[in-house]
């Protein structure tokens, strides 16, 4: 698992840099960069913190990944996950924060 940062969307706000539990993200020329993609744990803290949805989470090839990107939009009552499949199709899953897991 790791992340991919879209430099064209990043505005250099630093929200992702602040929350990464491994201090892996840095701002360079007003754009976020991960020091080493191999060091990502896959917690998605940065994906949720990015208001521009510039950070995508993906399954690495050694984990069986097939190129789908996962984005998150963290709002007050909901967390909306958006999958962007390699063929361009998309799927969204809205998680209501006020609801518990059923399992």
């Amino acid at each position: 698992m790791s992340i991919s940062i879209d430099r064209s969307k990043c505005v250099g706000c630093g929200a992702c840099v602040e929350v990464c539990p491994g201090n892996l993200l840095v701002l360079e020329n007003k754009c976020a960069r991960i020091r080493d993609v191999r060091d990502c744990w896959g917690c998605t803290a940065c994906v949720k913190a990015c208001r521009r949805q510039a950070i995508a989470y993906y399954l690495a090839a050694d984990l069986g990944g097939a190129g789908t990107k996962l984005y998150a939009l963290d709002e007050k009552r909901t967390l909306t996950w958006r999958l962007e499949f390699p063929d361009g199709s998309q799927q969204s899953i809205v998680v209501d924060k006020t609801q518990s897991n059923q399992y």
Binding site: M1, S2, E18, V19, C20, P21, G22, N23, R35, V37, R38, D39, C40, W41, G42, C43, T44, A45, A49, Y57, Y58, L59, A60, A61, D62, L63, G64, G65, A66, G67, T68, L70, L79, W81, L83, F85, Q91, I93, V95, K97, T98, Q99, S100, N101, Q102, Y103
Partner: protein, 534 residues
């Protein structure tokens, strides 16, 4: 954070400082969330039931007094975290809905942000984010704070305190992980939990206990996502490649569930899986949501491979071993007030030893107990002067080292390889022999010497060097504990191939202390709850 909240609420006159390597909003093992509260006294059960369960799961190597003082607070701390905003599943009458005999269902995605928000609401709590604590500061054997450095700016902090609570995570990254290449950090436990809390205490001479009871997680293959949600939540049983349910042949303690998978694989009946084929569409959707709230990789895998759990069983595997007192019993030797053997130093959560199966709520309970003990202590003691402070010279030396042959990354990989091959990693199905452990010791000694010559060129490099050194310290102590328990008390967790059976001679705690640079082993009786009065 829970300890700080307790202390801030009850003692507004005290000044409390939390120091965190990252940011308390999303740090450590709960950064992605948590799937359930796994330590709760459900209807029809008592705290004593929980104590017996934990003692049984540990095959007797745990402290009844510590488990008891933890268990009696589990439900109160659950109500507290709910009051801070955690969503817990309830029935129509407002009662929590149990997931199993000892756990309840929640939405734990935001558990860290909730705690961080509560901390920030107190004016007497200060938070230092992005400051990595390296070592305790001492006056004789009394702890009077700690020192650390900013991971971004060239600043060293000397943090003096009347009392110090060690509440770091345990140790990951000691062993070669399941995916040592690109996905080297895809592991059960947070890879940024390096064992710093243990290492600081070891170096300061604190007594440690039960490091040999390693924790190895049984996880969904590749994503290393939790299996409990499928097994307990959706009722999925373990099956082998022949479709046989085999768990009953091995027992049902935590280590036996893992041992079952290892044994089925070794006997040519793998791969093993959780039997999910046939679950309903509603169950599948609920599982997708549940995993997004704690381990999004699993949901992503189901959706992108178009092999959801209703049509494909979920393959399982064991992780690499960890040292983590929130699950097993490794950590500081403490008394029931959560005092360590060093005056002024307290321990709670993953670093507090001999109190296994505490999970999130047990760690909260220990944090509360420690906070109350600290309040008593600081009211009766003055802040002592510092003996000496060599940190600046030490840091300057690491920045001044010439560029050498080896990088921090290389030494870390070498450490993980040595532990994997010679100290019971995945490669040997978690088994080891005395001869192998001797070889492991030689490798760790060599790597410790080489780590002295590492060069830092940035504060982040400095962080990586100290993290490696923390892990090497934990490895050294762990190996000595594995050598000392000359029996097999727990399959996989401590499976000594020279001594494959349980031996009543070892109905005792294996403790240790670093004395003049050497790990000294101390055997303590199971009834021992003593730390001499400070």
């Amino acid at each position: 954070m829970f300890a700080a909240i307790r202390l801030a609420e009850t003692h507004p006159e005290l000044s409390i400082l939390i120091v965190e390597k990252a940011n308390i909003v999303r740090s450590g093992c709960l950064a992605a969330g948590v799937n359930a509260l796994n330590a709760y006294i459900t209807d029809g059960h008592t705290p004593d039931d929980y104590v017996e369960y934990a003692l049984n799961d540990a095959n007797g190597i745990a402290r009844r007094d510590l488990l008891s003082t933890m268990s009696e607070r589990l439900n109160a701390v659950t109500r507290k975290i709910e009051s801070l905003g955690l969503v817990i599943l309830k029935d129509a009458d407002g009662n929590y809905i149990a997931r199993g005999a000892r756990n309840i269902k929640i939405n734990g995605e935001n558990i860290k942000p909730l705690l961080a928000a509560a901390v920030k609401s107190f004016s007497n709590v200060e938070v230092l984010n992005h400051v990595n604590v390296v070592d305790l500061m001492l006056n004789g054997s009394t702890v009077i704070g700690a020192w650390g450095f900013d991971v971004r700016e060239p600043t060293i902090y000397r943090l003096r305190a009347k009392a110090t609570l060690m509440a770091t995570g345990g140790a990951a990254g000691l062993y070669r992980p399941n995916h040592p290449g690109f996905s080297r950090h895809v592991m059960w436990y947070c890879p940024f939990n390096t064992g710093a809390g243990y290492a600081m205490g070891i170096r300061a001479g604190a007594e440690m206990t039960t490091f040999e009871m390693r924790f190895i997680a049984l996880r969904c293959k590749d994503t290393i996502a939790p299996t409990g949600t499928l097994a307990q939540g959706a009722g999925a049983a373990q099956i082998n490649a022949r479709g046989e349910r085999y768990q009953h042949r091995y027992g049902n303690t935590t280590s036996e569930r893992l041992h079952a998978v290892v044994s089925e694989n070794l006997n040519g009946r793998g791969p093993c899986a959780l039997e999910t084929i046939g679950i309903t569409v509603e169950q599948e959707k609920a599982l997708e949501h549940a995993y997004l709230n704690m381990a999004p990789a699993q949901t992503l895998k189901w959706l992108e491979t178009k092999m959801p759990p209703s049509i494909a069983n979920v393959e399982i595997e064991g992780s690499e071993p960890y040292v983590v007192g929130g699950h097993t019993a490794s950590g500081y030797w403490i008394d029931r007030k959560r005092r360590t053997t060093l005056r002024g130093l307290y321990a709670a959560g993953d670093v507090a030893g001999s109190c296994p199966q505490k999970y999130v709520t047990g760690a909260f309970a220990e944090g509360e107990i420690a906070a109350e003990s600290i309040a008593e202590y600081v009211a009766a003691h003055d802040l002592l002067p510092l003996d000496r402070f060599n940190a600046v010279e030490e840091v300057e030396r690491l920045f001044g080292n010439p560029r050498g042959l080896y990088s921090t990354d290389e030494l870390e990989e070498a450490m993980q390889q040595s532990m994997d091959e010679y100290a019971g990693g995945i490669r040997s199905n978690y088994r080891y022999t005395d001869a192998q452990l001797q070889t492991a010791t030689a490798h760790i000694d060599r790597l410790e010497r080489l780590s002295e010559g590492l060069r830092a060129e940035s504060m982040y490099d400095l962080l990586k060097i100290y993290e490696l050194r923390e892990r090497l310290t934990v490895c050294r102590v762990l190996i000595e504990h594995l050598k000392a328990r000359r029996e097999t008390r727990w399959h996989c967790f401590a499976e000594h191939a020279d001594y494959p059976d349980r031996d009543p001679t070892f109905d005792c705690f294996i403790n240790s202390r670093l004395v003049d640079g050497k790990v000294e082993i101390i055997l303590r009786r199971l009834e021992d709850d003593g730390i001499e009065e400070h």
